[in-house]
Symmetry: C2
Subunit: 116 residues, 2 copies
Amino acid sequence: MSTVDDPREPLEFLQGTLEVLILRSLQAGPNHAYGISQFLEQQSGHEFVVDNGSLYPALQRLLQRGWLTAEWKVSPNSRRARYYTLTADGREQLMRESSKWQRFVEAMTRVLNPEG
Amino acid sequence: MSTVDDPREPLEFLQGTLEVLILRSLQAGPNHAYGISQFLEQQSGHEFVVDNGSLYPALQRLLQRGWLTAEWKVSPNSRRARYYTLTADGREQLMRESSKWQRFVEAMTRVLNPEG
DNA sequence: TTCTACAGATAGAATGTCTACGGTAGATGA
DNA sequence: TCATCTACCGTAGACATTCTATCTGTAGAA
């Protein structure tokens, strides 16, 4: 019973938004993919659930564009893990993407909830 | 000269956002595709520029899902134009999509600009 | 020894947007 | 009258990104 219509099923990512979120996740310091995934879920109040099939290809793209570097290390749980680090270009890209997102939100708001 | 680096080149639509914008465009009453396109450009402060190759397929999807109906009429410029009208389902969908968008923005904000 | 959490990754489908076309018909001015 | 502009309609195919589904493996707890 009670197949409840859950209003809190995870949100899908709008195309392009995952990248800025990943960059933001690494602003505080290097992290591995699993850690990024957890960070995003927690920070978003569990609205975002990151699929591996989205996350790993996105990390590859960010590496190829020179916005991240990666190196294998051992996590605090003594497991091997690939740690990603923001490059200087990555920080710039984070700023660019953040303000682009901001512009987009403002434009959407003007259409959806015009004031005045 | 002066190939200026325009900070106001049009924003691309994040996947899925065009549909809610179209529905919103029709909230005030029926309109044709060209009119919807103009409405969105003006209302967004010219941040959005709607490509026909995005608009017409989107309208087809909305029709197929029963959120719009369409009929041919003659515009005030005495040209034939296909007027789209929101259905009751379309209004509901507009509400659903609007609040989903709102949730998404809030989740993004929690990650990108956490306060507290 | 089995289970859960931690950690990595890929293939292929599905989706929706963009680029680049192509077309008709009224209005307008030379 | 002729050309051009603007208002309108659309489609085909490339492209990028996400999702679903699947696979591999280890550490530590039960």
